[in-house]
Symmetry: C2
Subunit: 701 residues, 2 copies
């Protein structure tokens, strides 16, 4: 199964342990360090790779805990430090000395993987063949929580149990949690987010999408929350930064935490996404984004607070739109159908196969049909919790109150003692991100759409709550007339309330949370049965896929992966070839109005790049971004891009528009990852006069 | 002066007689036939190159007078054959037999050059150093007319005297005028004009912009108007059509009639175009085009009649807009200023130079200033004559009447006996192109803009005429209430009227024509003085330019030129490379709504191009269009593109948007010509089942 062609290796988000088996292919592709070294997560380079907690990857770049990641991964940290008068995101920030490094706030985290252990047996120990689906889920969850709890008895460790190959395997991952993260350098938005939504997913790209952070720990070396006398963390290893860069055709690899792919979903899933799910998302999120943009236009403080959600909403709608375009213009749908037909033929080709796998595929189909039927109700209820921060505060508080009544290990994930601290940090951070008028408009949008569903598709407790609160208008007035949760004090008070206090309260937020939870808890029972069924079915499903197709790596699941490829351009359409590097001159050629308002200090230096140490003779300029053929997805943002020697040559920050459906199917001809060239970072630091950082990065003395 | 680098040879619209001197360069570039052969306008290939009369070039492709040119060069001929019910332009036309070939109408012409003779001495024979400017112009014009008249004593010949190098040299060109031109094959608009305005000037391009005509003559071989029993003309030579095509890097050349370039204009001229002239044109022509489009949307008959003017107005505004963009994004303005500074430095570097050339440059500057002051009045009067067909009929009639009072040779050019036949044909052709409601709106636009000028900038006779006709509204009502000239009979009547009849007429069109002419004739006196001054100054100006700069070819002037270059892509912006060939698959990928409504019969055949004889192995498809580095401009449309052996490999039909200002300054990095690949023509004919034409073109038996 691991006999890979060179072409195939570009596709694949490899678990580190898989790499030694691929040594020949990797060497042939151009890797110059032993493949075994790449499997060692405690050694260089993988020992330097960290996670920012589920949404971004990063890496250590100096012995003093200097961290490199994407600019768009630190927008929350910049926001915490921004006000209307002093918008650090807009101006950028360079700490002149370590004392000037800005705290990223109580929610900022860096996770350093310390161990990865196969726990498949332990997770499944109590599950029997005849265990009912709901119970199956409960037993597996319980086993996972026990493993995590035991793991987290180690101080300052966060642990997770992740499923691989659709639950055929489980791994326990132990991570050091560093809690004091500071901003060392962030370029201005007009560099770090150059081209913003217009250029998002696009090539040619000219984004300086990188930032430098530093991890701090207590002076005894233990992880601790922000304190003035904390000291820089000394990582076990850090990456060497290459000032040489990579050329067209060079080998590159990326190590990071890809979030999720759907490479093995059913063709029915793709059809539903194509015809219903994605079009609905585009309409719904697009509308929400429009509301927030109008709000931002009214008030610069709103603009600062809403920049992050507007950003990801823009990114999401473009992602879904791009997927739909790909479904139309490429053969991804046809290929997925063909793959599916192949698997079905395999199932039907043999009596034993048919007997074992036939029912599996049938049951999966029924489960798909059920969730398709429930799609709109789920969307227009659950979205309320991420669209309205106030509702999520109220609802989280209630869930903590309910779960606190159980022993810790029996509580639902996310509401255990281990989660309380992070939850509290989130409530504090909201002080800098909440914008009540936008919160109201978004909740109004959700409630309006929910109300427009046919009665049988509505969530009954929510409908009933709204009726007793004066309908849509009355409900919104009641909720947003001096909402208790808009103050930090009011939010903190939810931490102290028990179930009884919630259920007897007159506060509309609290009673709305109870009504929501009454619907959600019921849905959760159904969902847990479904998840239990998936735990039973998916291993068989994956077996059938493995038997009927070439299958070599598990879908992305937010765990450490390595992907490999080459620097290479592509042809987006007839007679057009995209070269794999952009240049500073190209950045300047685009300069103009926002979002292309490149700062004058960089534009002015552009004609002098030939005098810079980071000038590329072949390009005749300092490079800005580059393309590679390697496989990546959301979560990979901020990942270190490494050359054949394992040295840092860039940061991955995007995929390309022409292959947005790569999460469904990797197309080697069109799929490209987009990286910030490390030489652009070095040139920007040079222009900024950040000599101390260039020295710390090891490129100057 | 003729020691050329390879780079320089791409720039230059060479007179055939210049080519033998360039033999070494041409050979080095890849020419495989003797350069001497290229200088012989009666031998192959130049002997096959013809003009369609000032706006397009063409070439003979068979011994039976088959002619290849651009689709957009025959739109007038197609329009003559189109009605709302049967729009030949829209459907395209394939004559199944010679009997089915459609007459292009009385105005269609093909001109075959028979002789080119230097007549500089004869033109200047009577001019003395002290001759006054107005008189100088008159003497030169008179000499030219005498040369032409003598030349045209040969039957069916049209002759012209063209100035070269700003009037340093004059050449008399003798052309056979063929009057019976028929349509053999025109692809549908949706092929010949694929992408229309959206793709106009753009790359990648997928236009089938070619058409096939046939020249007919009387059975005795003499040129004659259309008659059923005319026979195909037997040209002295015709081009061999190559089915092999050209590859990236191959040598190509183009032979045709480039209309006009401004490579040697003053930098003041460029500044005025940049800041005033082009922005005004864009606004004015853009407004006119909008009016015609609204009219077209109301009535399909209007759409058919207005398609041609809307097309050229779109082309013009895009040309001016593209020029303005180039002025901003490239260094053309700076380079022009630098060239100018160099010439000025040369003038000032030497006392003799300063004495001779200083006053020349001063006087040219004054002449420039004067025409800048008069720019808006000229624009909002003269434009009336090409915006309103009815006014041009009335005015032409009056001018013929006035000029008829003089001996033929003293009449103004365009109003001699030799011009009467063509004028009459134009009046007939108007039967198929006139659309009175549009004519009214365009004249209203001109008169409104004229009226808005400050009083001292208006044309007094026109202002007075409008005042005596009830102002703007009254004038328009009077003119368009059953206008006599809207009928063929009414138009033909103008041919019979003398000056007296015009000047005493109550018809508002006739009196408006007299008023217009009263302003124009006065202006003409000033213009003739100006032209006389230019005849005196330009030879000295060109001497200064020749002395101070590298200077090798005269500006384009609608005479036969050869330009050379290579098939080559270009980079329109950072990280993007445009490859030099597009493909049928690329055409299909664009297919969709108008103007990309590719006919189903071609789309359906696209997957089978590999079975076609015109399949290109390197491209993996049949090519559609290609790029070359050679120098071209308006008038070159329809020119034969030749390979290194002088065989036809395509038809030039456009320049590229990124180098629209090439008429001012040729930029070897960005300037490209766009050609229809002859193999696309052959493939389309193959799909159409036009086997008889493929045989006649010599590519099949």
């Amino acid at each position: 199964m691991l006999i890979l062609s060179l072409l195939l290796a570009d596709e694949g988000m490899w678990m580190p342990e898989q790499l030694p088996e691929m040594a020949d292919t990797l060497n042939e592709m151009g890797l110059e360090i032993p493949a075994e070294q790449l499997a060692d997560t405690s050694a260089q380079p993988l020992g330097s790779i960290v996670s920012l907690g589920g949404y971004c990857s990063a890496s250590f770049l100096s012995p003093d805990g200097l961290i490199g990641t994407n600019h768009h991964c630190v927008s929350g940290l910049l926001q915490v430090n921004s006000t209307a008068e002093n918008n650090v995101g807009e101006t950028g920030y360079l700490a002149a000395t370590r004392a000037d490094e800005l705290s990223g706030g109580p929610g900022a985290r860096v996770f350093v993987v310390e161990a990865i252990e196969d726990v498949t047996e332990a997770v499944n120990a109590k599950v029997r063949k005849w265990t009912k689906d709901g119970k199956r889920y409960e037993l597996v969850e319980r086993a996972k929580k026990e493993l995590i709890a035991e793991c987290e008895t180690q101080p300052n460790r966060r642990c997770q149990v992740s499923p691989y190959y659709g639950g055929q395997e489980f791994r326990l991952i132990t991570k050091l949690e560093i809690q004091d993260i500071r901003i060392v350098y962030a370029p201005p938005d007009s560099v770090g987010n150059y081209g913003d939504e217009i250029d998002n997913w696009m090539w040619p790209r000219h984004s300086g999408d990188f930032a430098l952070l530093r991890a701090y720990v207590a002076s005894d070396g233990s992880s601790a929350p922000y304190a003035e006398d904390n000291v820089p963390y000394q990582p076990p290893s850090h990456l060497k930064v290459s000032a040489e860069g990579v050329q067209d055709g060079d080998f590159v690899m990326v190590a990071g935490y890809p979030g999720g792919t759907y490479r093995y979903r059913t063709s029915r899933n793709l059809r539903f996404a194509h015809e219903v799910r994605y079009p609905e998302y585009i309409d719904f999120i697009g509308t929400a984004k429009g509301l927030m943009e109008a709000e931002s236009a009214r008030d610069p403080e709103a603009a600062a607070r809403l920049a992050a959600p507007i950003g990801w909403m823009g990114n999401s709608t473009k992602y879904f739109t791009g997927n739909l375009e790909n479904f139309e213009t490429t053969d991804v749908v046809q290929r997925k159908e063909a793959d599916w037909a192949e698997t079905m033929a395999w199932v039907e080709s043999d009596r034993v196969n048919t007997k074992i796998y036939g029912p599996v595929f049938e049951e999966l189909d029924e489960l798909d049909a059920e969730s398709e039927r429930d799609f709109k109700r789920s969307m227009y209820t659950e979205s309320a919790l991420w669209m309205s921060s106030l509702l999520s505060v109220a609802h989280d508080g209630y869930r903590f109150a309910v779960e606190r009544e159980k022993p810790d290990l029996e509580r639902d994930r996310g509401f255990q003692d281990r989660d309380a601290e992070r939850h509290k940090a989130g409530l504090e951070r909201m002080e800098d991100s909440l914008w009540v008028p936008a919160d109201r408009q978004l909740l109004e949008l959700v409630l309006t759409r929910h109300k427009a569903l046919p009665p049988e598709q509505q969530a009954a407790p929510l409908t009933a709550w709204m009726e007793t609160h004066g309908g849509l208008e009355g409900s919104l007035t009641a909720l947003y007339d001096e909402p208790s949760l808009a103050t930090l004090e009011g939010r903190m008070a939810t931490l102290e309330m028990d179930r009884e206090a919630y259920e007897s309260s007159d506060d509309p937020w609290l009673s709305l949370a109870v009504a929501f939870e009454s619907y959600l808890s019921e849905k959760r029972v159904r969902d847990e049965e479904r998840k239990g069924a998936m735990l039973r079915l998916m291993p068989l499903y994956m077996d059938a896929l493995k038997a009927s197709r070439e299958y070599v790596y598990p879908d992305a699941n937010n765990t450490l992966r390595v992907t490999v490829g080459h620097v290479k351009g592509y042809s987006p359409r007839d007679a057009v070839w995209y070269r794999p590097h952009t240049t500073v001159a190209g950045m300047v050629a685009k300069a103009g109005e926002d979002p292309f308002d490149a700062p004058e200090r960089f534009v002015a230096e552009a004609p002098n790049t030939k005098d810079s140490s980071y000038f590329d003779e072949n390009l005749g300029d300092v490079p800005v971004n580059f393309l590679s053929t390697l496989d990546s997805t959301g979560g990979n943002s901020g990942s270190a891009t490494l050359n054949s020697k394992g040295e840092l040559v860039g940061f991955l920050f995007d995929g390309n528009y022409e292959a947005m459906s790569a999460d469904w199917l990797f197309d080697p001809v069109l799929t490209r990852s987009i990286h910030v060239d490390a030489r652009y970072m070095l040139w920007l630091l040079e222009v900024e006069g950040a000599d101390h950082l260039l020295t710390e990065l090891g490129v100057t003395e």
